[in-house]
């Protein structure tokens, strides 16, 4: 019996000590991390949306952690400890079958896009393997008072009636749109600053091996249009709505083929649309319910110029190019 006691008791005691050291104490300490600047609690609706996110298991395919690595820069700035002060249960995730969502409210701010995407992801991203969440919606003959039907594109819409977001869908989208990374002190929207915050966050975490890309070198070569860069940025920022080939989704998101603003030799309307967004404008006789988000706060002048030039030279468009200086001038005008 004594030997049994020694082995079982000793091993258990030792393990209990290690469990407290590696599980409980870090838990206690890190539970006390104060919220970062601009990080606040969720509203009741957003909190309900977060519960839907948990119960539908969105976290098994989507992370909410941006690492201080160059490959994560597309998702936002590196996550900081203070970002998670109100995030219980934590939803950092361990697999990225779908994109990181830490900053999705800023990256994809269109409510309508979110609804269509949840109703059937393939309606807006044909290659998507994300499940559809149709039970979060109701199909009725007519939209009730005060509710806009979701403009689901024809092949994906129910044969009869209109699609109305149910309470859980509205809560979930409110939650997704609330996922906006608060700016870290001293950060601006442009990529140089973003790289700088990468470095700052990295040093604050002591010896990171991460090497933020040298921003100065790339920013210098600006006046030449970088076609590959433009195509890449378009795919990352615009294709979700306008389609990988710029053809849009009829009636929901406009095509950029022969679009008047894109085709015009005066680029000011085109630049303005990307910088500040568009809402309620009729294009070729169609009025769009969805909004075109403003990319001014998220992309640098050079990046916006590259995207615009990509649009102006693709899909049969042949309009004059713009430069980062043109974008900077348009930015300054507002």
């Amino acid at each position: 019996m004594n030997k049994l006691l020694a082995i079982a008791g000793g091993a258990t005691l030792l393990y209990a000590v290690l469990a407290v050291l590696m599980g409980v104490i870090p838990g206690i300490e890190l539970s006390r991390v104060p919220p970062g600047p601009g990080v606040g609690p969720l509203t009741a609706l957003e909190a309900r949306g977060r519960e839907v996110y948990v119960s539908e298991g969105c976290a098994y395919c989507h992370t909410q952690q941006v690492r201080p690595l160059p490959l994560d820069e597309v998702f936002g700035r590196p996550s900081a400890p203070g970002d998670y002060a109100y995030a219980t249960p934590q939803l950092l995730g361990s697999e990225r079958t779908g994109p990181d969502l830490s900053n999705i409210g800023a990256r994809q701010s269109s409510e309508i896009w979110q609804y269509i995407h949840l109703y059937d992801p393939r309606a807006v991203v044909p290659q998507s393997i994300m499940p559809s969440f149709r039970w979060l919606f109701e199909v009725t003959d007519e939209a009730p008072q005060g509710l806009e039907p979701v403009p689901v594109p024809k092949p994906y819409a129910p044969a009869q009636g209109v699609v109305i977001p149910g309470p859980d869908a509205r809560a979930l989208v409110a939650y997704l749109l609330s996922l906006k990374q608060a700016a870290l002190p001293g950060a601006h929207g442009d990529s140089a600053a973003r790289a700088a915050t990468t470095a700052a966050a990295a040093t604050s975490m002591a010896a990171t091996p991460a090497t933020p890309a040298a921003p100065a070198a790339t920013a210098a070569a600006s006046s030449v249009f970088d076609a590959a860069e433009g195509a890449k940025l378009f795919a990352a920022n615009c294709a979700a709505c306008h389609g990988a080939q710029g053809a849009g989704v009829p009636g929901v998101f406009p095509s950029l083929h022969a679009n008047p603003a894109v085709a015009a030799s005066d680029p000011s309307e085109h630049i303005g649309a990307v910088l500040h967004g568009v809402h309620g404008k009729s294009i070729a006789g169609v009025t769009y319910a969805a909004q075109m988000p403003a990319f001014g706060p998220m992309l640098s002048d050079r990046q916006i110029a590259a995207i615009i030039d990509h649009e102006r030279t693709s899909w049969g468009n042949h309009a004059p190019l713009v430069t980062a200086q043109d974008v900077a001038a348009a930015r300054a005008k507002r």
Partner: protein, 491 residues
């Protein structure tokens, strides 16, 4: 070689010899009658554990196949919320963890505790209670997850708190039974297997409780607890129990004592020293404190000591007996040992920051999960069942069906793991290249398809396994493939 084998004869290693003797000696006729009822009770207890676990294996891996197919056909069975990916995935993982692997390992551990201590089980009733609690938890957990009650998407602890209390009670009753049984042992020494199974069960009670208490789990604090939880659940629960099976079944199948008893004890303590510290390697590059992440990486490397030590011990026990390795139960254990060695070494390599940059968050991790939980744990369980269940019930399975089970499962998991390891690397390089995200999805398509192919082979092997379990337990002897084996008391 020589000094080690000489030292083996001395000191605590005697227990090993004693146990080996007990395994082969046939008790006197009088004690045989006295123990007949005990043997029957033990056999029916073990049968019930294995049958329940097998039913859950079929269910949970049918769900796994459906999940795998959804990667190619996302609209497959997509109209019911209960069948959506995000609800089925935790049903699959918790089902395989707590309804397949856990009851099977506890059943085997109870059987080994009684046999290796040369005594009867402390309480058969308690063993039935444990099984009842485990099944109850699994049933409640599966139903609630399907209804959308998920405790925060925290992997492997998604069951609601009260269901995990039921699970913990199951573990407590199992630990009590194991300890009380070993306390009744004939000799002074405690056989190695029982170190691992008793240790593992007691540690896991702590793990479950640490994971349950809510007070220190807010925001980033919960991230730290989750990192701790994920690898302690696999490293301090499934790993020691599966190693306990190796330490008992292998000497039996090889008909020789374990190569080095003291190496087994050394691996026990080093496993205990390093495994609990490496949890944060699940969250490398996250905002967790950098020192916690570095500790995790260092301990991931230190884990090579118990892993290589333990694997060498098993492989050296098998050396030079190819004729015994060709018999199927030993072949399952051989794959299990290789699975342990390869997957844990893979884990160490994967933990380096330079490689995490490529593989973290990709499907490579899912490959690792299955190389470990399938190639190591599940094969260890199968080896244990095929080696021990016929000795308990006196009914042998059909050799050919056992062989087909072996090959389907081995080839299946190989395809599964290779496909995801290559695919996960492609996925990670796509991200590093800065390709649009959707490219990493479309590039995975062929690898996901291959994973489904491997998964279907694995699932077919489980159907054969289920049939074999039937023939080893409740089937009448002589029915389709069931071969009556001479019941050797004390086997």
């Amino acid at each position: 070689m020589l000094p080690v084998s000489v030292r083996r004869r001395a000191g605590p290693e005697r227990a090993n010899i004693n146990a080996a003797k007990r395994m082969t000696s046939i008790p006197s006729p009088s004690s045989r009658t006295a123990r007949y009822a005990d043997d029957r009770a033990l056999a029916s207890m073990l049968s019930a554990y294995i049958v329940c676990a097998t039913i859950w294996l079929l269910f949970a891996t049918a769900v796994g196949v459906l999940l795998a197919l959804k990667f190619a056909w996302p609209e497959l069975l997509s109209n019911s919320p209960a069948l959506t990916f995000g609800r089925l995935r935790p049903i699959h993982t918790n089902g395989t963890f707590y309804a397949w692997a856990s009851p099977a390992l506890i059943g085997l551990a109870l059987y080994v505790a009684a046999r290796s201590s040369g005594t009867r089980l402390y309480s058969t009733k308690l063993a039935w209670l444990t099984l009842l609690l485990l099944n109850l938890a699994a049933l409640a957990g599966t139903i609630t997850l399907a209804l959308g009650f998920n405790d925060g998407d925290q992997e492997y602890r998604e069951w609601l708190w009260w269901i995990r209390v039921i699970l913990a009670s199951g573990l407590i009753t199992a630990a009590w039974n194991l300890i009380a049984t070993v306390a009744r042992r004939e000799g002074k020494d405690i056989y190695l297997s029982n170190w691992y199974t008793i240790g593992g069960t007691l540690w896991t009670i702590i793990i479950v409780i640490v994971a349950l208490l809510p007070w220190y789990q807010h925001g980033l604090g919960q991230v730290a607890v989750q990192g701790y939880y994920m690898h302690n659940a696999v490293g301090m629960w499934f790993t020691p129990l599966a190693l306990g099976v190796f330490y008992y079944a292998l000497p039996k199948l090889m008909n020789r004592p374990i190569y080095s008893y003291s190496l087994g004890i050394f691996a026990f303590w080093t496993n205990l020293a390093f495994y609990p510290l490496l949890g944060a390697h699940h969250f490398l590059f996250s905002p967790l404190p950098w020192w916690l992440q570095t500790t995790a990486i260092v301990c991931s490397v230190a884990m090579l000591v118990p892993v290589w030590g333990g694997s060498a011990n098993f492989l050296l026990t098998m050396r030079g007996r190819p004729e015994r390795l060709r018999r199927t139960p030993a072949a399952f254990i051989l794959v299990g040992v290789l699975g342990y060695l390869l997957s844990s070494t893979q884990g160490t390599v994967e933990a380096f920051r330079s490689l995490q940059r490529v593989w973290h968050l990709t499907n490579f991790t899912v490959g690792h999960s299955h190389l470990t939980m399938y190639g190591f744990i599940t094969f260890a369980i199968w080896g244990g069942i095929y080696a021990l269940l016929p000795r308990a019930t006196g009914k042998d399975p059909n050799n050919l069906l056992m062989g087909i089970h072996f090959w389907l499962a081995t080839v299946g998991v190989l395809i599964y793991v290779v496909a995801l390891s290559v695919g996960g690397t492609v996925q990670g390089l796509d991200w590093i290249r800065g390709a649009p995200f959707i490219e990493s999805v479309t590039d995975m398509a062929p690898y996901w398809l291959w994973r489904s192919v491997g998964g279907v082979l694995m699932f077919l092997s489980h159907m054969l396994f289920a049939w074999n379990v039937w023939t080893m337990t409740y089937a009448r002897a002589g029915v389709a493939g069931a071969v009556a084996a001479p019941a050797v008391a004390g086997a």
